[in-house]
Symmetry: C2
Subunit: 324 residues, 2 copies
Amino acid sequence: MKTLGTLGERETIRLIEKIIKSDATIGPGDDCAAIDLGDRFLLVTTDMMVTKAHIPKGMGPYDIGWSIVAVNLSDIAAMGGSPLGVVTAIGITRGHPIDFIEQMADGMNDCARRFNTSIVGGDTKEHEDLVLCGTAIGEVSKSGILLRRGAKAGDLIAVTGTLGRAGAGYHSIKRNLGLKEAEDSLKRPWPRIREGIVLSRSGIVTSCMDISDGLSTSIFELSRNSGMTYEVDYAKIPKAKEVDMAFHDLERQKDLVLNFGDDFELLFTIKREEEENLLKLSKECGCPFTVIGKVTSGEENILIDGGKREKLENLGYEHFRTRQ
Amino acid sequence: MKTLGTLGERETIRLIEKIIKSDATIGPGDDCAAIDLGDRFLLVTTDMMVTKAHIPKGMGPYDIGWSIVAVNLSDIAAMGGSPLGVVTAIGITRGHPIDFIEQMADGMNDCARRFNTSIVGGDTKEHEDLVLCGTAIGEVSKSGILLRRGAKAGDLIAVTGTLGRAGAGYHSIKRNLGLKEAEDSLKRPWPRIREGIVLSRSGIVTSCMDISDGLSTSIFELSRNSGMTYEVDYAKIPKAKEVDMAFHDLERQKDLVLNFGDDFELLFTIKREEEENLLKLSKECGCPFTVIGKVTSGEENILIDGGKREKLENLGYEHFRTRQ
């Protein structure tokens, strides 16, 4: 009997996508679904967090509540949208303290408010384990929607913020390194809502997604969607300062930056001639926007490191599959 | 340490609602949240199904998929809305057969298509148990929105369809009674989308909700929301034909009809003078709409049974609370 363990998460999702017939303008496969409202698109995205795989040690109930809202808002940001509201469903045991759910609700509420939206509804059910499901709704103009597809050879690849910080935070918690800011950014992801809106309005972006599953996986996703290949220059990637503090070993640093994920930055492509405009937008947002490579029409995705060209490996996190 | 087990589901939800500050026109506490889109309301609702409490024996993967979509569409129906799309998040073990998720996706897809909408996106995560979360999005005109509040003394109470069928189906599966139609209606709930739209457009409805948690609990909900009391005439309640076949005992029949829930019919109130119009709408829909009592400004909710007036008890299903 073939089980999901033999398929892996991505293949399982593709299997479901083959069965489901979506009427939406943008259906499964992008950060959000986009439904045509006539004058604009409605954006919808849902994300489930289960205790075992998704809730790192050191996260308290407030952080958990914050995160389930933040990860969904990050998908709205990746499409260039403005949030309209969030609903959250909570499966929780009857043994959980009342305090726990109060703090979790506080975290949800604070995250939503921080990004100019609110928790508009939800569901609470008894379960044997803690499981959270958030759904965010947003809106975006028809011309401003940012998709995973659309990049063309010659476009530049860019990211918001810095990479590797959430991974450094993970190792800091694990090994008691005391990298407080990095730990906080793992525990309370910061969706790039404002940056997404600015990028959407700029008209310079040709494709976009968030980097929650790691940079390498996200590059492969953009590549699959555009049919193009991507060349990333490792030296140009803006590394979080905590990456050096988490590991001296350069290969382990590289793994954090390329593969760990959970950074919730935006990965996007812009038209080649717009690099200068990008820097202006970066100042406007008060957030670094950094060009890290270019879109090509080659054979495979490439990482340039220390002048050497190597094949970029897709090493982001995947569920289900039994690991060797 | 106080736990959720001491609070019960309803109190837990109220606790969360006190913390969450919703910006929506209609926030938590109704069947859906309603977000103002300018010319109309956007409706959003989310429902989680966990294996232990919500998936009756006899339900296959197709039924489970159908149900998670149907229960959410039922909330859209209860507000008088037309569905715009559904997203589904699935937590599932790596040991589940591939067949299982294929059939579940089929059930989701078929239910959405049957009610003129589609699954527009989702999420799939590895979990120790099967857990599903659906979120439905809909729209409704500003004047046509149906809320739990709004009934006035003198209004008539009505229901769609018949009651007790899902409960009879539950007992049929448990005791092998072979009540196929009743079993099917438990396994594949039928959201009253069409009826909700017709009622919304009619202008005769003063309040509405679905009866998923049982008639008695739903009456108490409408009562809490309107500040009115409700008098239900047991003899007038349209009982499903299978109720008699599931139990000879009249008290047990009454319990099925009043308290079991899972019927996903609509419970609503109309202006007193509109009873005749209601029957016209019923014909238009091809679905029975039956007046079962009236709204009063008394002391408590009343059940009239065999000419005797008794206090209506709120005996619907509640999670968390330890049962005596």
